[in-house]
């Protein structure tokens, strides 16, 4: 089964090619083909998963691509525990979202193209996951970026969507640039792209003594690679693209900007964990942990004040990705990947639920919704399950994974733990804010006629809800934490389960929920009073910490200012000098004029006339006939040859 792994990315790719070629002529306008492609890939992935479960021997296959000088470039795939988990997440969540899209995109004028892009995305993501070398990974990495660009800008006639797609593409490209530098740095010093070779050389200490600008080269390379992850996984300070990416269709937000692509950064850090782990003093991991922690808290605070349901979820995604990074950064390899997996399921579920709501209400603002629990029971219950999972309520999926991350963090650094715990509280708070605004009370826009979504949309919701309930159990301590046994990193010991911390984390989540009920349901404290109470903090948060503005101030303004300063310098200093010199020159010139007219001009005219006469004679050489020139060339060759021969 595992030998067929190369087929997994090819199936969606073939679907994409066929849809591109035949489009509307296919059954279901191409949708069935796309679903078939990803579903077959999912079946293969599940088969591989069970095979890997039996005996966890990593499988590798290589094809020689070309010789670059003496260095062979191999293209290949690698299937190990990490890959298997990612394959499962991408294909299973992907299948659900594909099916959901059949209903959600129904009637769209570019329906086949949507499925072609989705399939292309799935193929690229699977390529990224299966790659056994940095080159392949980077190819997949850029391809998913391209698909993200295409899909965010799917409604490209909307200016905001077009702008958002550009922003996403350019912002992530900043990160990719660093990542490319990191890859080149590694290739330059190690001469290979293959993960296993890189790790082997790093473990031997091949990079040990090398430094760049006083910093250990290994740390620099790892942090550069992490730069790519910062861009792709929307970490601070490159997080600004992800909320804007919500301009894309909701299934896209669910698949790409919540469950899979943005997780690619986390996956990459996990894949290159050996490298990060080996950096002296684990400085690289510290960077990862702090960036992750800060991102988690910052995004969670912004999420509290957003009114657009998709943007709340987007900030929640950023925050959760930060948590994963935090988990990885403190050495919780298993914890980070576990949270990635659970998060993929419940976040996809939440997005699809939000899509279902938007589908019914034709608005994104939660302030205009309300009372939907009665009209859309399926959506309500599945959304509630997803929310509970995200908030980390026992026994839903998020509880187990978040708890594991907090556990690892607590053993590492108490400040980071505080960040994580606060994030946890805020997460529960803003998610229940959404629930209360959307599904409870009475509807606030009387003209809307909400209705339950079709089966093809609710079906995937229920499946994903089921996963969200049970998938956490694979990491449950009382079942012996089988996930830990399947996927772990040699060299770090997992922190043992602590009942007290689990209770505390549940308590934090409960506190968040109760707080949300207090403010938005029972209205003990009206939200406007709360807003006034925190005053400037609210302004700061509602403006997203002024990051976008900061970019404008930090990059655009200085450039303009420097240009203006240079202009003044030009006008007042250089021009003055020039004018002075000019005046001096003018005086001298008057003096020289006399000499010029009679002496110099005479000489110049003489030379001119002489050159003219010479040219008059020589112009006959330029016959304008190529064959004359050729003849001269041939004679020249003969002369050279003869000179060489009779020297």
């Amino acid at each position: 089964m595992v030998e067929l792994a190369w087929l997994i990315p090819l199936l969606p790719l073939a679907a994409c090619a066929l849809i591109m070629a035949f489009g509307r002529r296919l059954p279901g306008h191409g949708a069935y083909l796309a679903v078939a492609g990803i579903a077959l890939a999912a079946v293969l992935s599940i088969g591989i998963f069970f095979q890997m479960l039996g005996h966890a021997e990593p499988y590798e296959a290589n094809v020689r691509w070309m010789l670059l000088g003496q260095v062979p470039l191999d293209l290949g795939i690698r299937v190990d525990a990490l890959t298997t988990v990612m394959l499962l997440v991408v294909t299973v969540v992907g299948s659900m979202i594909f099916i959901y899209s059949i209903g959600y995109m129904h009637g769209d004028p570019r329906y086949p193209r949507f499925f072609a892009y989705l399939s292309l995305f799935a193929a690229s993501m699977l390529l990224l996951v299966l790659a056994n070398n940095l080159l392949f990974l980077y190819a997949g990495w850029e391809l998913v970026g391209l698909c993200s660009y295409l899909l965010i800008g799917f409604y490209f006639e909307k200016p905001s969507a077009a702008r958002a797609s550009m922003k996403a593409f350019i912002t992530t490209r900043v990160g990719d640039f660093f990542m490319f530098l990191g890859i080149l740095l590694l290739f330059l010093h190690l001469g290979t792209f293959r993960f296993e070779d890189i790790f082997a050389k790093v473990r031997e200490g091949a990079l040990g003594p090398l430094t760049i600008g006083g910093l250990p080269l290994l740390t620099v390379a790892a942090v550069l690679l992490f730069g790519g992850a910062v861009g792709k996984s929307a970490q601070v300070p490159l997080h600004t693209w992800l909320p804007d990416a919500m301009e894309g269709p909701t299934p896209v937000s669910a698949l790409i900007h919540a469950a899979t692509m943005v997780a690619a950064g986390v996956y990459m850090v996990a894949r290159m964990f050996t490298l990060f782990f080996a950096s002296p003093g684990r400085e690289a991991l510290e960077v990862v942990a702090w960036i992750g922690g800060i991102t988690a808290l910052m995004a969670a605070t912004i999420g509290v004040v957003q009114d657009d349901i998709k943007r709340v979820l987007a900030y929640s995604t950023i925050s959760q990705l930060g948590l994963m990074m935090l988990g990885l950064g403190v050495g919780g390899y298993t914890a980070g990947m576990f949270h990635l997996m659970t998060h993929a399921f419940f976040k996809a579920l939440l997005f699809l639920g939000a899509g279902s709501v938007i589908h019914a209400m034709h608005t994104n603002s939660i302030k205009e919704m309300g009372g939907l629990a009665k009209v859309m029971p399926s959506t309500y219950w599945t959304f509630l399950i997803g929310t509970l999972a995200l908030a980390g309520v026992f026994p839903f999926a998020g509880f187990w994974s978040k708890d594991e991350i907090l556990l690892e963090t607590l053993h590492h650094n108490s400040t980071l733990f505080a960040l994580g715990a606060l994030t946890s509280f805020l997460t529960a708070f803003y998610m229940f804010r959404v629930i209360l605004y959307t599904f409870m009370g009475t509807t606030r826009s009387p003209r809307a006629h909400p209705h339950e979504s079709p089966r093809v949309m609710t079906g995937p919701l229920w499946v994903l809800a089921g996963f969200s309930v049970v998938v956490g159990l694979v990491g449950a301590p009382f079942l012996g934490n089988p996930f830990q046994g399947f996927l772990h990193f040699e060299g770090v010991k997992a922190v043992p389960f602590s009942l007290g911390l689990a209770a505390a984390s549940l308590g934090i989540a409960g506190l968040g929920i109760v707080a949300a009920y207090a403010v938005y349901y029972w209205k003990f404290v009206p939200s406007s009073a709360l807003r006034r109470a925190v005053g400037p903090l609210y302004t700061l948060v509602v403006n997203k910490y002024y990051v976008d503005e900061l970019y404008a101030v930090a990059i655009v303004r200085p450039t303009l200012w420097v240009a203006g300063a240079l202009r003044s310098f030009d006008i007042y200093v250089i021009d003055l000098l020039v004018n002075l010199i000019g005046l001096g020159g003018l005086g001298l010139a008057r003096l020289y004029r006399v000499v010029d007219i009679y002496v110099v001009d005479g000489a110049v005219n003489m030379i001119g006339v002489a050159v003219g006469l010479f040219g008059q004679t020589l112009r006959y050489v330029q016959t304008g006939r190529a064959q004359n020139y050729l003849l001269v060339i041939a004679l020249g060759v003969i002369v050279i040859l003869a000179a060489g021969l009779f020297r």
């Binding site: 330029q622 016959t623 064959q627 050729l630």
Partner: protein
């Protein structure tokens, strides 16, 4: 007498000079192109002959002969397209009448 490298080289040199003559003296642009084809063929004979007699293990000579044939096809295509364009615009294919660039 054994046929050796020099024999082939001499034939190729003669073929080359015939091509050169055509290139220098013919008025018709197509005839000039034919001369160039002859010269390319001469070069190819050299490549293949050296391949056999000097470095038989590598086959590089034959590969380059194939590349030269490919390039000759390109050259013929582009050259003849130029001739067609010139004929259409100037109504002549004689290169000594195409001298718009002259002083």
């Amino acid at each position: 007498m054994q046929v050796g490298l020099t024999h082939f080289l001499v034939v190729s040199a003669l073929l080359f000079c015939l091509g050169l003559y055509a290139m220098l003296s013919r008025r018709n642009a197509v005839a000039i192109l034919m001369g160039i084809e002859l010269m390319l063929n001469a070069a190819n004979i050299n490549l293949v002959a050296f391949n056999k007699y000097v470095a038989p293990a590598a086959l590089n000579g034959q590969v380059f002969a194939l590349v030269v044939i490919t390039l000759a096809a390109c050259e013929a295509g582009v050259g003849l397209a130029l001739v067609m364009a010139a004929y259409r615009n100037l109504e002549t294919v004689h290169v000594d009448e195409i001298n718009v660039m002259k002083w």
